[in-house]
Symmetry: C2
Subunit: 147 residues, 2 copies
């Protein structure tokens, strides 16, 4: 089985597990996110998808992205009130954001740091998730890890 077929099967399973169907639009959009992990917006994804598929509607892009999020394949990234960005990296990570260039890079923080945050919470607080956004200027960010 080729790697592409494997990915396809993995996707298929993720969808059917939630009672949802496998469609080529969903597959393509997921592939777009995996192929270039640059946290694109829905519009950027729409443009890339149209290049690959010839034609797709904006609403479908949003629908597919919602589905991917719901199936735990992709996460949304929110920075201020800018357009929502999408990220296929499911591991715990923070985001480095350079307002000048608009670039976003993933950065893995040590687990004890998250543990440290957890300790600060009130007793009656059940932790859901933690989002860490680090703003700053990257002077030569070429070698950052965009996992």
């Amino acid at each position: 089985m080729t790697q592409t077929e494997q990915r396809k099967n993995r996707l298929h399973e993720a969808f059917t597990r939630k009672g949802m169907r496998y469609t080529k639009q969903r597959e393509q959009i997921y592939n777009i996110l995996l192929d270039k992990r640059d946290h694109p917006t829905a519009e950027e994804i729409f443009l890339r998808a149209r290049e690959r598929m010839g034609s797709i509607s904006f609403a479908t892009v949003y629908n597919c992205l919602d589905t991917l999020v719901e199936c735990d394949l992709v996460r949304q990234v929110h920075i201020d009130r800018e357009s929502t960005r999408y990220c296929p990296n499911l591991s715990d990570h923070a985001h480095l954001h350079c307002p000048q260039t608009g670039e976003i890079h993933d950065i893995t923080l040590p687990t004890d740091l998250l543990e440290n945050i957890r300790e600060q919470l009130p007793e009656d607080f059940t932790l859901g998730s933690v989002e860490i956004l680090i703003r700053g200027t990257s002077h030569k960010a070429q070698n950052s890890k965009a996992s």
Copy 2:
């Protein structure tokens, strides 16, 4: 000099320092934020302002809020793509957000935690600011500190 007058002077200075004028709309909106530190949206601020002032326009609320942000008197708080919220707490703090109730509470994190994050950054990265959003359920959040 009364406390109100002192606040007024402080505001006046903050505005003129940036070449901006002191207006009653700006003052009222700032007071609304100080009086109830519950991270209101522009719409909530608009409603409270109308109660106090009789009449004010939505655009003015946005304009005034922008001014207050620019004069470093107030900060924006972004949660997902929900309406922007406003916060007069300028000290370093994280936000606890309960998606069920919509409540937001400020929580002060130990300085060494922020130091710890700083250490994780790439060499070529000049830190701007850090935003930490902690999502979860507060089962009886009455006694949380909303500083």
